[in-house]
Symmetry: C2
């Protein structure tokens, strides 16, 4: 079994970090204030096992029927772990598109389960086989927007896929706040469509481990039996509740990141890159020179971290997280310098 | 599968909570200060995947050879989950003593594994069969001090059990800071002795989810592949690091809790209870009247929560967490009043 390897985490401050799709902006001031206040709270007491405060606020913000449509977890990583443990037994199978988030494969491996990758078609479309049942299939995972591409499978296609599948379809919406579409409304209509969200990306809280699942209440209740009793830290729950209530802050930050994303895509195209139009907080690009790994190394030597990704039988490229304008421009200038040296 | 049911969590402030073995005292001031300071830290960045700051401080405090002997997790609950997922496959078996911490059974059920309970002998001694191998056995779990009894299996017996077992023996030391013995030194000598610890009890940080495993480095490295990449929250890691560095605070609080525990045991005996001498931050007691469930209900009506526990084929009783002197005395007075009403 090959463990999942997340992006590098260098000592803070020394690098411009555009490799793990973090938000370059600090969280809302109301979040920081809430944490400071909670530091004097009942830390010696076990937290609410189901993060009710958060679930109430999130249900209201997202227009869900109620808090019982939400399962909160220690990052959406924990939610994904709970889903795989809950649905996929040893020898059973989960499905994911390719190339996408390889953590799903690691989760299957840990569980002693099998995984099956369905390649994207040209233009990052999904073939209909992605929605076909088979005997051992127990769970299908779709990152939407996908990584590394930043592309979105439209909700109407997600709906069609779910209708033909004999098992739950989890739409991993870690990046949905940066996209034009999301599948939240589909959860009410289809028992087998589940949506995961995280506070790590759009809300600027990767340090605070908090993510959640949106699904029909009967499923939420079953999955809650699998999670650790007290999986949500008291301070994290307070922070996440403040964050999801700060929708004005969110709208501002997303607008900034989208504007920087648009400039980044233009700059990369001007430099000859093939850039996939992104609906996430990163862009995926390839250069006709093919010197992606060398570019990654060059940037790293110059204190800029981006993600070099190589997908066997598919190809390689560079994934660049959207930073502040200054960070992103520094990265673009360094890329320019590298290309001039070729 | 029956999910694990933790103790009740009423709205804060309304009850005297002596039911979930929390520390009645707030954490060290240095912990609160560290959290307030960290609230302005890099919350938008992913945390250190292995909580290195904490592991360094803990290795030094506990006299371990190095941080690579420690795996940090989101509470020792997560550590236990990782251990069961790592060692016990579907259809395989874990062993626990009885009566003890029934969460272990739930973890086996979630995994599709089997569990086997070995009853304690009179006086809370373990029979030698607890150390016997069998074909499907993959993991043995021993809470030490045990709950509900608060008793300790001495390290020399733990060593003998481990020597005869064909699999890892996990000594769950959630309450070890309140005991006269612990098994930390045995980890260096025996590859199959593993120790779990938590910051929830003695350090007064149940709200902050943080626990850890001590084991030989080769085992730690393997288990790290199973955990979620970023399982330790940034603020929790900061808080836990400050806590484990506050050993003077810890010694004071433990001395206070032990003194209250001693007075509680005397008071209960004076009221006719059979009290098991405790090495934890709770006491287990039974009354000749047998009216344990009724006593629990009476206390609850009077805003005092203790834990009523009923173990099939074994018996029932009351587990009372040690609170402050005031909280514990209020509980004793209410018990006295109940007994007078019989």
């Amino acid at each position: 079994m090959l463990p999942y390897t997340p992006g590098e985490q260098p000592p803070p401050g020394k690098f411009i970090k555009l490799n793990t799709n973090e938000n370059p902006y600090p969280p809302a001031e109301s979040v920081v204030a809430a944490i400071k206040n909670a530091a004097s709270g009942p830390l010696n007491r076990y937290p609410d096992p189901t993060a009710t405060l958060f679930r109430r606020a999130a249900a209201e913000t997202l227009g869900l029927p109620g808090p019982d449509w939400i399962l909160a977890g220690n990052g959406s990583d924990e939610i994904l772990t709970i889903l795989v443990r809950g649905f996929v037994g040893e020898g059973q199978k989960l499905r994911l598109p390719y190339p996408s988030y390889i953590l799903y494969r690691t989760l299957a491996d840990i569980q002693g389960a099998k995984w099956e990758q369905v390649p994207f078609l040209d233009g990052w479309h999904l073939p209909s086989v992605f929605g076909e049942g088979d005997r051992d299939l127990r769970l299908v995972l779709l990152p939407n927007p996908n990584s590394p591409s930043g592309t979105v499978v439209p909700p109407d296609q997600v709906e069609r896929l779910a209708a033909s599948l004999p098992c739950p379809l989890v739409v991993d919406e870690a990046y949905a706040d940066f996209a034009e579409f999301n599948c939240l409304d589909l959860v009410r209509k289809h028992e087998n469509i589940l949506v995961t969200r995280t506070l790590s990306k759009s809300y600027g809280l990767a340090g605070i481990r908090f993510g959640f699942l949106v699904a029909q209440p009967s499923l939420i209740a079953k999955l809650a039996n699998i999670k650790d009793s007290y999986n949500c830290d008291y301070l994290a729950t307070i922070a996440a509740t403040a964050a999801i209530s700060a929708q004005d802050w969110l709208a501002d930050v997303i607008a900034k990141i989208k504007a920087t994303r648009s400039r980044t895509e233009s700059r990369l195209r001007e430099m000859g890159f093939d850039v996939t139009p992104s609906q996430a907080n990163f862009v995926w690009c390839t250069h006709p020179s093919g010197r992606h790994e060398q570019l990654h190394e060059y940037l790293k030597k110059n204190q800029i971290l981006v993600r070099y990704m190589n997908f066997p039988d598919w190809g390689d490229g560079i994934r660049i997280s959207i930073g502040t304008d200054e960070q992103t421009e520094a990265c673009m200038m360094m890329i320019e310098r590298y290309l001039q040296s070729l």
